[in-house]
Amino acid sequence: MAESILEIKDLKIQFQNGKHIVQPIREVSFQIKAGQTVGIVGESGSGKSVTSLAVMGLLPDRISSIPSGEILFDGKELTKLKEKEWRKIRGNEISMIFQEPMTSLNPVFTIGQQLSEPLKRHRQLSNKEQKAAIIKVLKQVGIPRPEQIIHEYPHQLSGGMRQRVMISMALLCEPKLMIADEPTTALDVTIQAQILSLLKKITSKKDRSLMLITHDLGVVAEMCDWVVVMYAGEIVESAEVNELFDRPLHPYTRGLIQSLPSNNERKSKLYAIQGQVPKPEQVKQGCIFANRCPLAMEKCFQESPPAFQEDGHLSKCWLQSSDEGVVR
């Protein structure tokens, strides 16, 4: 297969508020190959956004740090970059689409002014060329009358249109990697479908790689080539998309798949995993999922399971240990 565009190795992220230290990301490793769409799934608070912000170099300054681990983008190590070098990458080689299209655009600048920003920073274009490039990409994301839209302000557009604008902004400089953090969560269901199919169309072209963050496994099934399941700051399972749905190994992933609406149709109640994701400061010894796991064994509370791997399918669960026999 193609080479990795992004490779995260044993990444650890730390937040420090005064003396209070938390590690919302611990030993996270995964990779995205050129042209792939990789889904990052997990409940709220599992560390999906923090991971993506680290890849963009947008972790809150001063209070956050990366004590260990590497982020290799196109072979270049990002965690030690200076702010000035980051700026050359952001919006140019890596771009990001955020969850909230309503608040992610600046209310006092026109769409055109905001879209010209990445071009101004990364391309030497005349005003005319800039305008042409913006109109081209607006057409590409299916915005009607782009010549007028560029003179309008964000509040004049609907949520779906704004998210299209955000996507066009991410596309402008033809980045090697796009990150979309829950790009449809804030939108109506019908608009969600439109935006997803737009993203699918965009990623089907060329060597565009996408890191798609979502808590919706349905979206993953439809969009992704590879899936990374995160739980409380760790990767608990990672596999090729069909493999994951056909043969989920980790009890947490199984719970997520079971709680999909299509698997629930004839049940009177929606299946839900009991309990809550532990906060980073609550993580104790043993398996992080043990307090909610229906299959937890004694060992699970004592020792944290390593990542068991078989043909690239990774699962961080004692059930995969050969001592326990493989439960499928």
Binding site: R90, F98, S104, P107, F109, P118, R121
Partner: protein
């Protein structure tokens, strides 16, 4: 919205009316101007004649009614000292007050906006802490005290600036600094909090994600958003600035309305005091009225209250 404006308008009129009433009675109760205007050894007849001429021998409520009746028509009588129209002599002094207030306002904005922006950007840094400390001090020191401090330092000790008067631009420096000090402190705080608010908005993150460097990020994308709350707060604060100007004038003998009122008080020149208070109260009320309307316009939530 119209209800709100009408309500605020009548509240404003009420305020001016109450202020005038209070000052009228305080002045009458605090003493009679007669002794100040007549020689020490004036005879009883002379005193009575003077009081009769001034209408001071009539019952207080009659005097009050007459005063209000005339005031509504813009007639505050003549100055007891100069025989000029009282209102006109106040209006003549107004430009000097405005000049001082405007100079202080501009100075305060020029210092406060960059200071507040930097303070917000480097929040919790040493720079920010010092700046915040200064704003606390700036707001805590009363204007007249600040004026005296500056006079002590620059006029009495260093002897480089005049302690009072007007005429040359040099004379304006100390009163302007005095008045600007307090406003700078307040505007710095406004700017800092408005910027802190904007800097954590999602669209700032979007701009960063586009590769925008710090300077345009702050000065273009963030500041333009902060200007709306900053302007509103500054507008709301102009009344405060005017009040400060009145005090500052007294400290520095700056020939504005405040100084005129002070002198008129010393000589019990009732008509001038009342005309001066009327003008100051009126401007103060109009400024606050406009600020409230602007604020309500910008922020629909308060219209309901």
């Amino acid at each position: 919205m119209l209800d709100f404006i009408v309500k605020r308008f009548f509240q404003g009129i009420l305020v001016v009316f109450l202020v005038l009433t209070a000052v009228f009675f305080l002045m009458r109760l605090s003493g009679d101007p007669t002794t100040l205007f007549l020689p020490q050894d004036a005879s009883r007849e002379q005193i009575e004649a003077f009081q009769h001429q001034m209408g001071l021998d009539r019952p207080l409520y009659v005097q009050y009614g007459e005063f209000m009746g005339n005031a509504v028509q813009g007639d505050f009588g003549e100055s007891l000292r100069t025989q000029q129209d009282a209102l006109q002599s106040v209006l003549d002094r107004l430009p000097a007050t405005f000049q001082l207030a405007a100079a202080a306002l501009i100075l305060a904005l020029v210092i406060a906006i960059p200071l507040g922006v930097l303070s917000a950007y480097y929040r919790n840094s040493i720079f920010d802490r010092v700046a915040v400390g200064l704003t606390v001090i700036g707001q805590a020191i009363p204007t007249f005290w600040m004026g005296l401090l500056l006079i002590f330092l620059f006029a009495a000790q260093l002897k480089i600036l005049p302690s009072g008067g007007a005429g040359t631009p040099i004379h304006m420096i100390l009163p302007m600094l005095t008045l600007a000090f307090y406003s700078t402190a307040r505007f710095t705080r406004f700017t800092r909090s408005a910027m802190l608010d904007v800097l954590q908005q999602d669209f700032i993150r979007t701009a960063k994600a586009s590769g925008t460097p710090t300077f345009p990020l702050i000065m273009k994308y963030a500041l333009k958003n902060s200007l709306i709350p900053i302007i509103t707060l500054v507008a709301l604060d102009l009344g405060e600035l005017l009040g400060g100007a009145v005090i500052t004038e007294i400290v520095f003998s700056w020939p504005g309305v405040g100084r005129l009122i002070e002198q008129a008080l010393m000589t019990r020149d009732f008509p001038v005091v009342l005309a001066g208070v009327f003008i100051i109260a009126l401007i103060y009320t109009v400024i606050n009225f406009l600020a409230d309307v602007i604020y309500a316009y910008v922020n629909p939530q308060i219209r309901v209250k």
